[in-house]
Subunit: 193 residues, 2 copies
DNA sequence: GTCTATAAGATGATAGAC
DNA sequence: GTCTATCATCTTATAGAC
């Protein structure tokens, strides 16, 4: 269907733009010019910009959740699950220096419509909850070790990855993120198990 | 002098706006309305928006450097210097939920004029360099302990603080940042010294 | 579904009066 | 220094023809 195709094209183009320039940094015109359509056509699928923004963030949240589920279902031990998790961030950055949509929108939070704010908050809550469970189990099984409690360590770990994406992008050095990821692993993974 | 006062008023108002809404999220009109002047007056002091943005980031970078120098000159040991460092981020967030200007602009990096980009890069380089020195000395003196090398640990530490400011602001919970800071301390500070 | 046309408002910026 | 007036341009958004 031509309709479904255009809709998908709008979504993927907008996704790329919002990951690199932010919600306030892209316009319907940017999308239209890139695809070769008119802005009115975009309004047909997404009447208001916040409709598009909400759809993008909701999709992203859903796909990220699927990725976490896939890690859960993997037979690997906690250390490898942790590596798979950090790899999600490294892969995103490797793709044209794109930011995690959550980190991007969270920084713009005070300028966003409420519907989008809720999705961003949900993404953080989902991820910290998942990470807390991973860290708790990893500790119990003796694969992981760290000071403090799993909840706070999960917050610190997620924050470090989001922050490192930002600094890596700014310094135009994706290895920056890889170094931070490696450092985070070294801090938590029990090597003499 | 009225001139100096207006200039300072513009800078402080713009600073507050850019910390909360980002470079692409504030306008000359926002500043003018808040101060009670016209946008043309702002153009008198800062002809182009990037002049204002550059001034704000350069000032911030300079003041942050001074704060780091003050920590250096303090008689405290490395663990307390580290606590003073993380306190800088906590204090910023405590002030009306404001972001670190570096983290804010770094996220918008792909939309910023080059002069500003250079200041942001410089801020990251300055801070990571200072932190690396602190961590190196703290290790040598036996106050601090961590896996890997000081350079990468410095990158991870800075990234975690910037990231935690973002998540804390989004969740509207400044204790989020405090928990992450505490966690970072617990990870590195040798308790039985 | 996609377009043209158009609107109302914001934005960064400048010229020139006071 | 600060203002009024004005600018070209962009932005989100809608109405209606095809």
């Amino acid at each position: 269907m031509a309709a479904e195709s255009t809709r998908q094209l709008i979504l993927s183009t907008a996704f790329s733009l919002i990951q690199s320039k932010g919600y306030n940094g892209f316009s319907y015109r940017d999308i239209a010019d890139e695809i070769g359509i008119k802005t009115a056509s975009i309004h047909y699928y997404f009447p208001k910009k916040c409709d598009l923004g909400r759809a993008l963030m909701a999709d992203y949240r859903s796909r990220f959740k699927d990725a976490l589920l896939a890690i859960d279902q993997d037979a690997d031990d906690s250390t490898n699950k942790l590596r798979q998790f950090t790899a999600l961030f490294i892969q995103t950055l490797a793709q044209e220096n794109r930011m995690c949509l959550c980190g991007m929108l969270a920084t713009e939070i005070s300028t966003l419509p409420v519907e989008i704010v809720e999705e961003v908050k949900g993404f953080i809550a989902d991820t910290e909850k998942w990470l807390t469970r991973l860290l708790t189990r990893g500790c119990q099984a003796g694969w992981l070790q760290f000071a403090g409690n799993p909840e706070d360590q999960a917050k610190a770990l997620f924050a470090a990855l989001e922050g490192a994406m930002i600094t890596a992008r700014t310094l135009n050095d994706r290895r920056h993120l890889e170094k931070v990821a490696k450092q985070l692993h070294a801090t938590m993974i029990v090597t003499n198990k």
